[in-house]
């Protein structure tokens, strides 16, 4: 029991820190609320989907920006998608970068876009790591027989 409590506390602290650092926002909490007996792995599923989507989009953007004649419209479309996905999951940092990215696309600024792309990739990797840690903690708690604490 003690272990479970400890793990739960760890989980809560970690979650809170993520929120405090501004990596995740309230939307993520909402997603966690949606997780119940009917869909126990809801958050994990959403996150996996997000990672897939993200990687695909980032690759697209990278390829598009490598071209000689950059198709900014296509890049913009991908950024838009990424923005949507990130806001759905609550990845606030990623979303903010996307917003900046979009303005560079509109300005057709290749340098700016490349810079943003780099930033996005960085943020995304960070987020992925953090979330994977979080999920591991969850699994540990569940394996120990505890329940995931609800964060208000």
């Amino acid at each position: 029991m003690d272990v479970v409590n400890q793990m739960q506390r760890q989980f809560v602290d970690y979650s809170t820190s993520l929120h405090r650092e501004g990596i995740l926002d309230d939307q993520f909490t909402q997603l966690q609320k949606l997780q119940d007996e009917n869909s126990p792995d809801f958050v994990v599923e959403v996150a996996s989907l997000f990672f897939e989507d993200c990687e695909k989009l980032i690759n697209n953007m990278a390829r598009a920006l490598e071209q000689q004649g950059v198709d900014f419209k296509q890049v913009d479309a991908s950024v838009h998608q990424l923005k949507g996905s990130s806001s759905s999951i609550g990845a606030v940092q990623v979303k903010n970068v996307c917003i900046a990215f979009r303005s560079f696309c509109e300005a057709q600024n290749r340098e700016g876009c490349l810079r943003c792309l780099q930033q996005v990739t960085h943020e995304y990797s960070l987020l992925k790591n953090k979330l994977q840690t979080l999920f591991r903690l969850e699994q540990q708690i569940l394996a120990a027989g505890g329940s995931i604490p609800v964060i208000e």
């Binding site: 909402q30 869909s39 923005k83």
Partner: protein, 741 residues
């Protein structure tokens, strides 16, 4: 030679005188005989018609041959050859034949010729007869023309006298009458009075009773009837020396507006008739012809119509004049009333100000005086002054209020107030007076009486105070009970007050207050007068009742303004009375409570699924976003179908889906178009799913465009669970939500 020989006498010498004459005669005969046929031919040729041409030929032949014979005779006076004799003989033979034939023919022809003559005579007679008839028709036609002209004359005027006069004049002229007269029925209907004549200028008022047989005879027939010149109606002129001419009378129906009812035509028995009498010139031996009688009948009918027109016009003119008079009178009355009201208002305004100011001074200063050091007598005096001035002030207020109430210019000051407090105030105010009179006052407030209510606090208190005050005033001892409760639906329609049908609703309740006292009571005949102004019970007027009698009247006005009813019940004198009134008050909190009641209070994390089985369609190109939305909706219990493109959306959507969530910010996917297409697909509003757009920006432009294409709502992403829940419940309840941020 003197012998008596039997030989033929020798031929006389040709140049004998006898011979000569014969010779000449023969010659002339021949000439004549040749010229006659020529003449015949000539003249026959000239005449167009001659039926017997071959007779001419025959005759001509006969004559020519005769002439030839006589011509040839000329040669026989002298010695002639055998040839001549032969020719002579031939000619004679021919002549004989032809003459015999002609003689035979003539036997047939001559009777024919004679009959031609008779036929000619017959035709001449016929022609004469036709001429006569022609003359008759022409006179008839002329008569017809006269009728038309007469009618025209009669109908060209709407003045009754002109009509009648014209009729008589024209008739007289057309028919060359000696006299025409018109007899009109008198007002009583029992006599006929001579109204108009042709020749006499001012007919003296001859009257004949209406029920004479001859008059009845004329009235009962629609034709003109010949009457005897000796009957009273025809004896208009002084009896002359001559034989009076024939007289004819016709009836003229007098049509009245009142004769014509909507659904039935007037019966003949109620018809009134006038009598038209026409006299032919005396001593003219003229007879009334059929066509003349017809003329008279037609004219009589036309006159009837013209008269009725004139009568109707008269009526309408009279009605119009009457209306105008009435209008003028009403206008005057209205202006006078307005002036009176203005005068009264001015008076009241003056009263209001001028009387209240000194009143205020008196009351204020007396109450101040009360605060100072006073001897007991002085205190008593000051108290009396204060009481009297309060009473006077109340009186002024009452009068002003009542006049304003009657104007209809009084309006309730609605506000939220504490009902319990109002009753307690009244109790506090009345307790001192009641205790002086040793009356016990008790207040019962029902437990379900709401604490707060919406209404005019001041006036409600005034009403309760007035009623309770009356109870105290008219009770010498005993107790007074005030009960207040919420009127239930069954009790609302009191059999006593059939016109009062209060209808309770969610926002209002009816407060019922009953004030029962054990006082002097009211006799049944006084009960209806209670609420009339200035009417007091005569029995109590002498006692120190005070007040102006306006109190209850004012209460009634207030109660009516509050859409209620007030009445007093009493079993009789000395048995006490109960004053009951009901007023409509608003409920302040009920609205909020009712709204909350609709929303299922679902605790944030757990809780029953709010929308079990609700079929929704989610369209989103973005996989993550789609999954999140789906998760939200599944958590709320919905049955979610996901599509990732607009074509798929339009294909899959059916009327089973209650709500369609469309992600709006993906470029290339025209959310607007989808909305339009969905409207096209589902023409009936109740079949169409509710369309909601999920968008990242809710600026005004986006919202307006969404509204324009027929979307039912717009939600800003990201959507929280609570927000989704409230959005869905709002949508399903109202079918429209225009903003959820």
């Amino acid at each position: 030679m003197d012998s008596s020989c039997n030989c033929i006498e020798p031929q006389w010498p040709p140049d004998d005188l006898l011979m000569k004459y014969q010779y000449i005669s023969d010659f002339f005969i021949a000439l004549a005989y040749f010229s006659i046929p020529l003449e015949l031919i000539y003249f026959v040729k000239k005449s167009a018609v001659f039926p017997y041409r071959w007779v001419i030929v025959q005759f001509g032949a006969f004559i020519v041959l005769c002439g030839t014979t006589h011509l040839i005779n000329l040669w026989t006076f002298t010695l002639h050859t055998r040839t001549v004799a032969m020719v002579m003989m031939t000619a004679k033979v021919f002549t004989a034949v032809v003459s015999c034939v002609t003689a035979l023919m003539l036997v047939h022809i001559i009777p024919d010729l004679l009959s031609v003559k008779t036929r000619e005579l017959f035709l001449k007679n016929k022609a004469a007869e036709l001429d006569r008839e022609m003359g008759l028709i022409r006179t008839q036609e002329e008569t017809g023309r006269h009728v038309r002209m007469l009618t025209h004359e009669i109908r060209s005027t709407l003045d009754r006298h002109t009509i009648l006069k014209t009729t008589l004049v024209e008739l007289g002229r057309t028919l060359a009458l000696e006299e025409c007269a018109l007899w009109m029925p008198t007002r009583t209907g029992l006599e006929l009075q001579l109204s108009y004549t042709l020749r006499q200028q001012n007919p003296v008022g001859y009257t004949v009773p209406i029920h004479l047989p001859v008059i009845n005879q004329v009235f009962s027939s629609s034709h003109a009837v010949k009457i005897s010149p000796n009957c009273p109606v025809a004896r208009i002129r002084p009896a002359g020396k001559y034989m009076p001419g024939e007289v004819v009378a016709a009836r003229v129906p007098l049509l009245h507006l009142s004769n014509f009812h909507i659904n039935d035509w007037p019966e003949l028995s109620t018809k009134r008739y006038a009598l038209m009498v026409l006299m032919l010139p005396s001593d003219s031996a003229r007879q009334w012809h059929v066509h003349e009688l017809e003329l008279v009948e037609v004219v009589a009918d036309q006159v009837a119509v013209a008269l009725s027109h004139a009568a109707i016009l008269e009526e309408s003119m009279r009605a119009r004049d009457l209306l105008m008079e009435q209008n003028v009178a009403l206008d005057l009355a209205r202006r006078e009333a307005e002036m009176a009201i203005r005068a009264r208002n001015d008076f009241l305004a003056v009263l209001n100000h001028e009387m209240r100011t000194p009143m205020h001074a008196i009351i204020a200063l007396s109450s101040l005086l009360q605060e100072t050091e006073l001897t007991p007598e002085q205190r008593l005096m000051v108290e009396t002054i204060l009481k009297s001035s309060n009473l006077l002030s109340t009186l002024i207020n009452d009068v002003l209020d009542l006049s304003r109430l009657e104007d209809g210019s009084l309006q309730l000051d609605l506000g939220t107030f504490n009902l319990y407090v109002v009753f307690r105030e009244v109790l506090n105010l009345i307790k001192p007076i009641a205790s002086v009179k040793k009356l016990h006052v008790s207040l019962n407030l029902a437990p379900d009486l709401p604490e707060y209510a919406i209404g005019d606090e001041m006036r409600l208190m005034q009403t309760i105070l007035n009623v309770v005050g009356n109870a105290v005033k008219f009770s010498k001892d005993g107790s007074i009970t005030i009960t207040a409760f919420v009127a239930k639906a069954e009790l609302l329609s009191d059999s006593r007050n059939p016109e009062f049908f209060p209808v309770p609703s969610d926002n209002h309740f009816y407060l019922r207050v009953q004030v029962k006292d054990s006082g002097i009571g009211i006799s049944p005949q006084d009960l209806p007068k209670l609420f009339t102004k200035f009417a007091q019970n005569q029995s109590t007027a002498t006692q120190n009742s005070g007040g102006s009698g306006l109190g209850l009247a004012i209460c009634k006005r207030f109660v009516n303004l509050m859409e209620g009813h007030i009445w007093i019940e009493s079993e009789g004198l000395g048995k006490g009375s109960t004053a009951i009134f009901m007023v409509k008050l608003g409920i302040p909190e009920r609205l909020n409570e009712s709204k909350l009641a609709f929303m299922p209070k679902v605790p944030p994390n757990h809780g029953p699924t709010a929308f079990p089985g609700l079929k929704v369609l989610v369209m989103d190109e973005n996989g993550v976003s789609r999954k999140v939305t789906k998760g939200l909706l599944v958590h709320l219990g919905c049955d979610v179908t996901m599509v990732s493109s607009s074509e798929e959306c339009l294909r899959v959507v059916s009327n089973e889906h209650k709500v369609v969530f469309m992600d709006f910010c993906t470029p290339g996917m025209d959310g607007y178009e989808i909305a339009i297409r969905m409207h096209e697909k589902f023409t009936k509003r109740h079949e169409r799913p509710i369309i909601v757009a999920l968008t990242g920006n809710t600026d005004k432009v986006t919202k307006e465009s969404c509204m324009r294409v027929g979307m039912d709502g717009v939600i800003l992403k990201p959507v929280s669970l609570d927000k989704m829940r409230s959005v869905l419940s709002d949508l399903l309840e109202h079918r429209v939500l225009f903003e959820a941020i």
